[in-house]
């Protein structure tokens, strides 16, 4: 290579270097995704508090023992913040679903769904416990 061409080669090198840097930035920007962990943890905390408050006086297990699914749905609807969609499923000790009606205020449509799992004991003399799964999403 002649000395006359070495300057032009350096200019080409500079362009190549910049091309590589911009490519790296573009690719790395695409790889990073915004964290939704905090939003989900807040929603899970709200859901857990609702179940805790309903269980504090035995209401939660009373709804389940009595099969009062509409009562449970209305109570959840009232206690959860406006704009939160929910779907609740109750399982017995053998993990068989026992709610015969849907306990929900509407279908989820592509939102990020948060799950809260809660175990509550029946206050009946015969010992029974239930696994309550509450799916939550912010309505969009």
């Amino acid at each position: 290579m002649s000395k006359r061409n070495s300057g032009q080669i350096r200019i080409i090198e500079a362009f190549l270097a910049i091309f590589i840097i911009f490519s790296a930035i573009t690719i790395s920007a695409g790889l990073t995704t915004k964290s939704t962990a905090t939003e989900n943890s807040n929603l899970a905390s709200v859901g857990l508090q609702v179940l805790l408050q309903l269980d504090a006086d035995g209401s939660l297990s009373a709804y389940i023992d009595a099969g009062d699914w509409s009562g449970m749905r209305e109570a959840l609807n009232l206690l959860l913040p406006v704009g939160v969609s929910f779907n609740l499923t109750v399982y017995n000790a053998e993990m068989r679903q026992i709610n015969t009606e849907t306990v929900s205020n509407g279908a989820f449509s592509g939102q990020e769904i948060t799950l809260v799992e809660y175990v509550c004991a029946s206050r009946n003399p015969e010992f029974r416990y239930y696994v309550v799964r509450l799916y939550l999403a912010v309505a969009k």
């Binding site: 032009q8 200019i11 500079a14 362009f15 270097a17 905090t38 807040n42 805790l52 109570a75 206690l79």
Partner: protein, 351 residues
């Protein structure tokens, strides 16, 4: 100068220029992500602070009941509560500026011990009760008032059962229990020889869970006597199941003091001058305390709730959103046996 030196100079200048451009572009691209990660950390920190306020009883743990005690460490939880998010009725009442024993924002801020965080706290019933006086039928001996009561949450109707009390001079009447799927309508009759103004106290409980309760108080004119604004004649401060009544002017004479809940109504027993004992009702309902009396020739009925809810205290962030990162945390709390909604706003300087 040889041509190769000029080429090299231009190449180096171009490299420096383009590398600087690349750095600027990188900074522009990544700054929102850096801010977002700072926001996540801030939100987590503020979230834990909000939980701390509601889960910690403070120091001393009985600071709510002692009227002169200013907490060393701030927390609203009931000491020894069986369930989390159970707040102390007196600690909550001492946040209300209407109380004689209210803590100032500065006292709370100091005892919270988080120097870079401003806060606002709101506690209110899960749903609202709205009262309207829709018709008045004046007879010779008595007047019939028609009320419309709506129970709603954010504009949506709430299925509730409703009960009301009407109070005037030496007069306390209770209504039946009404269903309110959207609205409840009822008539109340007040004799014309009873001095006004009168006070309607409405309690509502969700049909599906009786711990979800709310109330409203509606003063109205009777016998041409218009009600005065709240707190004109008396300052009512309940604390540790004792009601202290402070007249705002000389010449005020108390007639009767009542405690009302959804299921119970009782006159209060006076234990000392202007001090009354509040019964501990076995009812998941706020207690509304009503004091009636005379100020020279004017009859009055003053009221407060125990716990003194709804309350809003702290910094108003609505005008400071440009200066602060503000986060709101909504929690469900139990006070007494009833469930309330508590929102904690926390904010600090923008990062």
């Amino acid at each position: 100068m040889p041509a190769v030196s000029v080429d090299t100079f231009f190449a180096c200048s171009l490299m420096v220029l383009l590398v600087l451009s690349a750095m600027t572009a990188t900074a522009k691209l990544l700054q929102p992500r850096i801010n977002s990660s700072l926001d996540v950390e801030g939100a987590e920190r503020y979230g834990e602070t909000a939980k701390h306020i509601l889960l910690y009883a403070g120091k001393p743990s009985n600071w709510g009941q002692e009227s002169q005690t200013i907490p060393e460490e701030f927390g609203l939880a009931e000491a020894g509560a069986k369930n989390p998010y159970t707040l102390d009725v007196d600690k909550v009442s001492r946040l209300n500026g209407e109380s004689l024993y209210a803590l100032s924002y500065a006292q709370i801020f100091t005892s919270l011990k988080v120097s870079d965080v401003s806060f606002r706290l709101e506690i209110k019933p899960v749903f609202d009760v709205r009262v309207n006086l829709t018709a008045i039928f004046e007879g010779f001996n008595e007047t019939v008032y028609t009320f419309e009561v709506a129970t709603e949450k954010s504009g949506a109707a709430v299925s509730a059962i409703v009960k009301a009390y009407i109070i005037a001079e030496n007069f306390l009447q209770t209504t039946s229990v009404y269903n309110s799927d959207e609205m409840a309508h009822f008539n109340l009759t007040v004799p014309n020889d009873v001095e006004g103004p009168a006070l309607l106290v409405v309690f509502a409980k969700s049909k599906f869970n009786d711990r979800i309760a709310s109330y409203a108080v509606y003063p109205f004119a009777h016998n041409l006597s218009e009600p005065a604004a709240k707190g004109v004649f008396l300052k009512l401060s309940p604390l540790n199941y004792t009601l202290t009544v402070i007249p705002t002017s000389a010449g005020t004479v108390l007639s009767s003091v009542y405690a009302l809940t959804f299921n119970y109504a009782a006159p209060l027993t006076q234990t000392a001058s202007n001090v009354f004992s509040i019964p501990k009702f076995a009812d998941a309902s706020p207690i509304v305390l009503v004091a009636t009396g005379w100020n020279s020739t004017k009859f009055f009925a003053e009221w407060t709730a125990y716990p003194q809810i709804p309350l809003q205290m702290g910094v108003d962030f609505s005008t400071m959103s440009n200066l602060s990162n503000v986060y709101a945390y909504e929690h469900l709390v139990a006070i007494g046996s009833a469930i309330y909604k508590c929102t904690v706003w926390l904010g600090g300087p923008k990062a």
